[in-house]
Assembly symmetry: C2
Homo-oligomer: 321 residues x 2
């Protein structure tokens, strides 16, 4: 029996709340943390939703679980598949394990050994491909053709978006009214989910996306009104290198007030501030919203802000400071 | 008016609970965190009391606040003084600031600039001395002679010990019965407070101290039944380099079941495990109890264990991994 409906249009509040109830046994309700010293420094009142403490170390567990639980029994028999070198791979692998189904993860040969091992640790079948976008897709297509596994797209999937929205739902349930809610934008799964959750529960709250200057596809797409692709994928924020998809772009276009871009240096400084003041480990992508607040300090002065820390999966042998 | 009595003998449960109530407005009730992956790895059920999230980033804020609040009005007029290059300096400085009194901190010229700046940031007067134990003490004596400030000893002080005991009180209030409670031992302030709190509230629980092999004064003192001093102070666990004092040794001697020592390598491995799995930043001293659990895995198998993470003040430009 599939315990979650397959969502085929922009998720409604009811669908997001059902998703939350459905995935709850498989995710952590992560803490919301404030830090006196960062509040003093920014002049704002910031509530950090700590998805670095989520299972597999990132928010991706929410979306992958929601998509997995929407499979039919027949689909479950065939398993699930995806391509990813990062957090989505681990999220799909653990979701599959939690529901006793097979997972097939296409990973580029360049993926860090530690991420490969973590994904294998959840019992997933790893299929190695050449480190190009084309090879990823063609290898995945072969795997799906052979196994009949269901492809779980990392963000262009309404069940994934509904799952990611549950982080904002928990944030708002805990903190209440806020002036602004912020998230970083990669493929836009977290951002579109965050935007929907905020729009439904706090209709007067501003929704602000944030992005590295070097991978500013969402910023450009938002300005132009159509999807613009990244010219480079060279940023320390390794979770934010993907382009928007039709489903995420449409939600972002409709619900965001603004997208702010930040430099690599600003990301590293904000990441360092979170590590040193909050004593928590976050990945570079997590630091992008705080970098935006520090960049446009005047604009955020005195505001009550919720922001989502995406995850904490960093290679501590290869830090930017 | 002094809001806390001066404690002149081994603190009673009533005195510790009063200390807790008195200092509460000035400290964080820090979270207790468990980690599925570390529990799986150790085969134990471990509850980490996260004093890395305490104000100033370490448990020292508890003891310093308790000692400061026990001053008479006259003593408050003259201020407080201490010598420290580390967390106690910041704790005394912030406690003084919180109670609008002067603080005089003797710091060795070798103290990291970042710690000096943090201490200055709380408005303390910094007096620089040569980096020897003798120079620290003589400089402090001069400062006290000149200012009539009250010396707040970092651990040989029953109000400080009662303050440090409140971390264990909170841990036990949150977790309930445990088989074992553990802490690291430096000067013994945290360990003796933890031992008292555990002894009073969970009389059947084992109390285990942990220490780096390289600075094993507490281990040797516990074996010999009298205070033995460290032969070297060369350990990465920079919070644990001090010798026990009469007050802390007597409590440790009476209430501990055992002291386990661990190698530098074991400390670094445990610290890395906490960073990577728990996504929190802890200083090397914090990792010593987990290192002991990993070293004597069989002994801790299936046990319900509470342990205190001392703090999170590390120089992230100078990590051991």
């Amino acid at each position: 029996m599939n315990t979650m409906e397959k969502i085929t249009t922009v998720p409604s509040l009811k669908q997001i709340l059902t998703a939350h109830k459905t995935i709850k046994p498989y995710i952590h309700q992560t803490p919301v943390i404030s830090n006196a010293s960062i509040n003093k420094l920014t002049g704002a009142s910031i509530f950090f939703k700590c998805e670095n403490f989520q299972k597999i170390g990132a928010f991706k567990m929410r979306g992958a679980t929601c998509a997995t639980m929407a499979l039919t029994d027949k689909e479950k028999t065939n398993g699930i598949a995806t391509h990813s070198s990062g957090n989505h791979a681990q999220a799909v692998a653990l979701s599959a394990k939690n529901h006793n189904i097979n997972a097939y993860i296409v990973m580029p040969s360049s993926a860090p050994v530690i991420k490969r091992k973590a994904t294998e640790g959840y019992g997933a079948n790893i299929i190695t491909c050449n480190p190009t976008i084309a090879a990823r897709q063609s290898t995945l297509d072969q795997v799906v053709a052979k196994t009949n596994a269901t492809f779980i797209h990392p963000f262009d999937n309404y069940n994934v978006i509904a799952g990611q929205a549950t982080a904002a739902i928990e944030l708002i349930e805990e903190v209440g009214r806020m002036d602004i809610v912020m998230a970083p934008i990669g493929g836009g799964g977290l951002m579109s989910g965050t935007a929907l959750g905020t729009h439904y529960l706090l209709p007067d709250t501003q929704i602000i996306g944030t992005e590295p200057e070097r991978v500013d596809d969402a910023y450009l797409s938002f300005q132009k009104g159509e999807i613009v692709k990244n010219k480079s994928i060279n940023s320390i924020a390794d979770g934010l290198l993907t382009n928007l998809s039709p489903k995420t772009f449409n939600i972002i276009k409709e619900h965001l007030n603004e997208i702010i871009t930040v430099s690599e240096q600003q990301i590293i400084q904000a990441m360092r501030l979170i590590w040193e003041r909050m004593k928590i480990i976050v990945e570079p992508s997590s630091a992008v919203p705080l970098a935006a607040i520090l960049k446009q300090k005047e604009r955020f002065l005195g505001q009550k802000i919720g922001l989502i820390l995406t995850g904490g999966n960093v290679d501590i042998n290869n830090l930017p400071f």
